[in-house]
Chain length 505, copies 2
Amino acid sequence: MPSNASLIEPKAMSSVSYTLYYGTFIHTPSLGDLEICFNTLVGVTAAGDIDFIHKNYRPEEHDYQTAVQFFINNRKNRHFDYVDYSQDPTKFFMPGFIDTHIHASQFPNIGIGLDCPLLDWLNDYTFPLENKFTDSNDEKLKFAKNVYSKVIQKTLTNGTTCASYFTTIDPHTTNLFAELLLEIGQRGFVGKVCMDHNDTYHDYEESFEDCVDSMNKIIERMAQLNPAEETLVKPIITPRFAPVCSRKMLKWLGKLSVTQDLPIQTHISENKKEIELVHDMFPDCEDYATVYDKHNLLNSQTILAHAIHLTKKERKMIREKKCSISHCPTSNTFISSGEAPIKQYLYNDKINVSLGTDVSGGFDSSILGIIKHCILVSHHLAMKTGRQGDKLTIIDAIYMATQGGAKAVGMPDKLGSFELGKKFDVQLIDLDSKESNVDTFEWQLPTQHEGDHKKRTKKMEDLLGKWIFSGDDRNCVKVWCNGRLVINKMHYSRDDRWVMVEKDF
Amino acid sequence: MPSNASLIEPKAMSSVSYTLYYGTFIHTPSLGDLEICFNTLVGVTAAGDIDFIHKNYRPEEHDYQTAVQFFINNRKNRHFDYVDYSQDPTKFFMPGFIDTHIHASQFPNIGIGLDCPLLDWLNDYTFPLENKFTDSNDEKLKFAKNVYSKVIQKTLTNGTTCASYFTTIDPHTTNLFAELLLEIGQRGFVGKVCMDHNDTYHDYEESFEDCVDSMNKIIERMAQLNPAEETLVKPIITPRFAPVCSRKMLKWLGKLSVTQDLPIQTHISENKKEIELVHDMFPDCEDYATVYDKHNLLNSQTILAHAIHLTKKERKMIREKKCSISHCPTSNTFISSGEAPIKQYLYNDKINVSLGTDVSGGFDSSILGIIKHCILVSHHLAMKTGRQGDKLTIIDAIYMATQGGAKAVGMPDKLGSFELGKKFDVQLIDLDSKESNVDTFEWQLPTQHEGDHKKRTKKMEDLLGKWIFSGDDRNCVKVWCNGRLVINKMHYSRDDRWVMVEKDF
């Protein structure tokens, strides 16, 4: 271990045909804009790219034949698959979710540690667990493989097609994690945690030299692992957060980001005591954001997690530097960090905001759960401030979970919505799946033959509410990454409407 | 329709043997007190009553034989079943949940109406749906049967063994609802909604005379339906809330409660505009609670839902009258009603508080979800007030979901915990069930052979956190009501450890 790069066959690079998808496609192409596209035909190349989108395609005759005919007439492509869910009002395609803040190594601690604020929580629960990944003997690798496989499987089965992960300080298991991403079929940014200055828990830190050495190992290994033609795994520079990093390390990491053209992720302003600590440790910096800025860590490829208690000046700096925020509402409530004013960040400060599960400060590894919770947390904020305008809508939340996430991970032209040239990183939602927790009634379904388009759209919007507030992983029945089907829960379903053909016309 | 009482065989009255249960039992016998009883043997009579509890029973030899031997030696009972989950650290018995506020008729609207405050939400979404249950032609009865069956099945499969329901103003479908409770096997208090004064939505109200007539029909029918020896279904007097009730009706309902010895449920102080409305409509009453008190509606059998914005004086009155509160955190956040200071109600004001899903103001029909959300909402309250003491613990939440609920529905000696003479209304939780959303790792399990009892208990407490924050209906694998197994999801599970014997020694 780690295994030979040549032995790994990325699941999201497997051989597939050109595929036509026909059905309801829902996405948020821009902030505040929800688009529900019924009867839409989407062509996806064998490389996983969206080739064409034909909205509101309503053949008079049998769907399959005419959709195929459309394709043949227009493209002359003779070999393809065809996938049709257009007849089923409870099924729709959504862009895969993008989780921009998740600690893979903390997955076993989900639900534990409710009673602690951030700094105690780190020492009592988090550092001891992360430390178990260090020392790469066989047993530790087995331990890491067990935890890491589970977290990738879990998030992927919840529709997360891309995530930006924190692992631990250990380089060997971090490389193992990247291999597992490829094997299981999720796009991922892999952040070896960098921290050379852990005053409160000395057992879990590295020297500056070890950090440099580890980062080089990871960058080298991931260059071998990632397929030349596609971004599936990529290192992300990850100073844990200012209090556990020396200035020397911060400076080196800032430089590394430039020389290697690598993205950056870290934490900022999660907890008031943490902010005080940063002020004490960096008295020459006016605020928390300045600490990172001084070390060249703020740029358009930077993800700042939490960002709850920002000053006006910090917000301005974050917008000017084009950084993205990762909002982690479950975590912020669980360990009582605060309620971030996300609506203001989005609409007043014009900052890009995405969503993070923040496992295991956050207890929910599903971005669908985070969509729900970010709305609820915004209601609490609005009740506190008295400003109705602080409330996030369903549309805001879906945007942050998809297109906002795509911007945050630096792939706004490749992920996050249905557009020509974007990757087909997609989930199929089925509100009527086996043992679904969503209950729909016949009169609530937006049927094919509903004459009134407005009425059909309103019904679909209500179903989105049902999905967000009562749905879960059981409703995410298929997941594609890079155009490849990486999750399929419909194998044994009686009402499986999957149609696959490969014909030579 | 309604069907003949003699044709209904209540599922929770079916014939069963005396049964011994052996395993981990977890409950909150009193406020603030969590008891984790490993290796506990519980005997349950054929009438569904807990006959004996033998805690920490650790036979030297094979569990089954010695447990059986214990029973034979001590009881001389020769026919019995034996159920043993003692070897499995991921399984434990909990008292069934008690949902003290749920609108059965609103079940289809779950997840819809996020954008509205209470009074608009009622007019736009709730009244039109409830009105669909009126006029008992065949189609309406079919509609009602579909919705009502689903809500009972859904709550029961989530471990709710008893609930206090609002139906609609319609008596026929309300009686149908009671029949369905018996058929499906859930204990229920059935509240025909009383409202003769709906100023904002005249289509949905009844006359005072109709209300009297309907209530008499329901009381009569439920007396026929409920088995003589057991409280399975019972009418509960339900003035919807003061703004839609005439003084004449309120007075009559208060009197009816006394003459028929029936419990009462209603709403109070959910929303600030609602409180203003009540002040305007009842200028002679100092506050909202006084409106109900003046009409003899506050007593030890009264459940007051929401109770968010109570004055000190109202709290005092509620305590003195020994009413219970039903706290509905998901609803209060969803439609932005407020954050009720529950910790203060419980510990300072000494008011009994229980939990309610408040479907469909609340989006979660599972009391497990309400346990999670009441903790989270209390964190938001604590962040608002700056008082750490406003935070609810896991123990508080479980207490409200079980024993607090038992007190609220007037059955503190029969439900809510494991005690001699109480009914065996119980759920079996399995954290490792098929497709469980809870992830446990081997080192986290409190094993049988763990020498250190404190360590084993701490591990179990952490597992409770995992269950509450990542569990769902999939973890509730069996449910008993009145000692009868009414839900069983383990039929086809490979790791089904259910052992059932009936032997003649």
